[in-house]
Amino acid sequence: MTTHLAIFFGIAVIAIATAVSVLASRNAVYSALFLVLNFVTIASLYLLLNAAFIAMVQITVYAGAIMVLFLFVIMLLGDEREEPSSRLKWQAPAAFLMSLALLILFVAALIQGNMGLQQALAGVSEGFGSPASVGRLLFSEYLIPFEVTSVLLLVAMVGAIVLTRPGREDA
């Protein structure tokens, strides 16, 4: 057991724990905070996997912007605690079963896939996963998706504004 493997297992446990907490929290704010923790954990996993740029992007955008947005909305809409549903009694057991089945399927796919990924991984170059290398790819091969994504962001912004505009009563 190398140190990297031990660290990996530690990160994995924390990630799963925080994910479960997201599910199990009665309070929406707690769920959001646990999710932030989850994202940070995943970011450190990225670092472990030589994805430095992405790790940073994850923290900046995901944990920093998206989750903050989430928290804004939670605050806006009020703190509500959920009671267990009385109407859909069978939903929860069925959901557990199905998720379990999904998990089993994933494991079966993994085993069956047998992609031979257990062997030792090759070493990577120095600049693997650096902003420069990703950026090089972004601006050459994936330029158009990059530009389109910027338009997408614009559209999303406009959409969000339009949706939340106060309705025109004077029509």
């Binding site: 799963i16 599910l23 472990l48 998720s99 994933f106 257990q118 504004i161």
Partner: protein, 105 residues
Amino acid sequence: MNIPTDYVLALSGILFALGVLGVLIRRDAIVIFMCIELMLNSANVAFIAFARSFGPSGAGLQGHVFVFFVIAVAAAEVAVGLALIVTIFKTKRSIDVDEVSSLRG
């Protein structure tokens, strides 16, 4: 840094299953949304794992690029989705998804 890719993929799978469970169980619309982000995130983990395993060969960094785009799209989606939830809240005064059941029958 020799983490077997299978283990990372297993983690990704677990996270995804948890996300699914969360979507099905929780009644709060915002929490459901968060679980969806969790699912997206697990997919990102899988991408990075593959990028690392393909590493020095050409396909390696493409995984990163893909994750980049996924994050960007996730951000846009959250913006619009939350705006929708806010709008619905203005009418229904509740974010319980069980309240939007008028299409029953």
